[in-house]
Amino acid sequence: MADKPRLSRQAMCDRIAMEFQDGWVVNLGVGIPTLCSNYVDPSRDIIYHSENGVIGYGPLAAEGEEIPHLVNAGAQKVTAAPGMAIVHHADSFALIRGGMIDATVMGAYEVSENGDFANWRFPNRKGGGIGGAMDLAACAKRVFIALVHNTRDGKPKLLHRCQLPITAPGVVTMVVTDLGLFDLKPQGFQVRELAPGWTPDEVQARTEAELAVPETIPEFQLRNC
């Protein structure tokens, strides 16, 4: 059976960004999560923080308007938003560990039903790419994960237990995939919204972990501004 259409990466990140509340300080990881800043709700002020000490950067810089000395954590050229502040790297992570990050959004290879996630090392290889992920995962108030629901060969990524070395234990609060939005509860993954046209059984069939399914499931919220 050919799969139904799945959500785009931008739709996934739009939905995550809808969770950001006015005044939140948010850190976006490299990759899919950077798309969250493309969703702009004018009624909410979101302060984007980047590991290199930029607090309150603006949208990506248009061609010709780049400032050579101003980049985000993905080394993308960004604009200077009014009210922006700059600190050095140790102070930037003091801000993270000190509990000032309301939400961090990261990609992951795997998430497990106990709230662990893995995003820094592949098996059978030395080393890894941690960057600021362990500091953010351990210390942000909320850890949101954006990932496609299955690997290219169809394997599930929402698991009973992570197989790869984890980034932090028990910290994930919400996961958005191309099939829906899932909250991490003490008992595991709970469906909050599903992608248009997908049923709980169809999504469960593509998931290793047990999904708790409420009686009514609203359709996935798409961008309306």
Binding site: G53, A75, A80, R97, K126, M134, C139
Partner: protein, 227 residues
């Protein structure tokens, strides 16, 4: 006050001995001391150790020449195996040593070295493979791991503006690791991008690194490396 300006990058790095540990700031391109690193390639020192966020293109030149014994950084593998670099292959073949450090722990270890702090406890990495051999302590109900200060003999710094004594200013995200590395090294060498002004030319309230930490200053010439 002492004038620390030197005429060339060559002169600024001439005494770096074999076996030195060198701090190399930069995050993306901003704040990377590319001219000093280029001079170090020509200078010839070997058996080096580097402390940096990643094995950037300038460190990679030294690594691929077999002149680095160990790197300390927050990335020792690419996010996808298809993006392997010569450094990653050398590391997987045990041709170079590496210590993978979470970025905030790396920054704080450098800061501690400059601040006279021997070690500190952090919650970062608790419950992961990286914490396995580390001393743990529960503080206020939360588990922490002990991390030691990370000093170096040299720091190469990229600043926006300096005075002739070495009071430094950075521009936007150029700051990143620069101030803490300038404080943590025994010898701090600075390449200046925009201008070197007379002492008194920088408002004391706007100094990002006090000149007492700085030993040598070189103005990047118009044909220097700016990207």
């Amino acid at each position: 006050m002492k004038n620390k300006v030197l005429p060339s990058f060559e002169a600024a790095v001439a005494d770096v001995p074999d076996g030195s540990t060198i701090m190399v700031p930069g995050f993306g391109t901003p704040g990377t001391p590319r001219n000093l690193m280029s001079a170090l390639v020509d200078q010839g020192a070997t058996n080096l150790a580097t402390i940096s966020n990643s094995v950037n293109r300038d460190i990679a030149v030294l690594v691929e020449a077999g002149r680095v014994r160990k790197v300390f950084c927050a990335f020792t593998a690419p996010t996808h195996p298809s993006r392997d670099t010569p450094f990653v292959r050398m590391y997987n073949n045990d041709e170079i040593d590496a210590e993978l450090v979470p970025q905030g722990t790396l920054a704080e270890r450098i800061r501690a070295a400059g601040a006279g702090i021997g070690a500190f406890y952090t919650p970062t990495s608790v419950g992961t493979e990286l914490a396995e051999d580390k001393e743990h302590r529960e503080i206020n109900g939360r588990m922490h791991v002990l991390e030691y200060a990370l000093p170096a003999e040299y720091a190469f710094i990229r600043a926006w503006r300096s005075d002739t004594f070495g009071n430094l200013q950075f521009r936007f995200a150029q700051r990143n690791f620069n101030p803490i590395m300038a404080m943590a090294a025994e010898v701090t060498v600075v390449e200046v991008e925009h201008e070197i002004v007379e002492v008194g030319g920088i408002d004391p309230d706007c100094v990002h690194v006090p000149g007492v930490y700085v030993d040598r200053i070189v103005q990047i010439p118009p044909d220097g490396i700016f990207d």
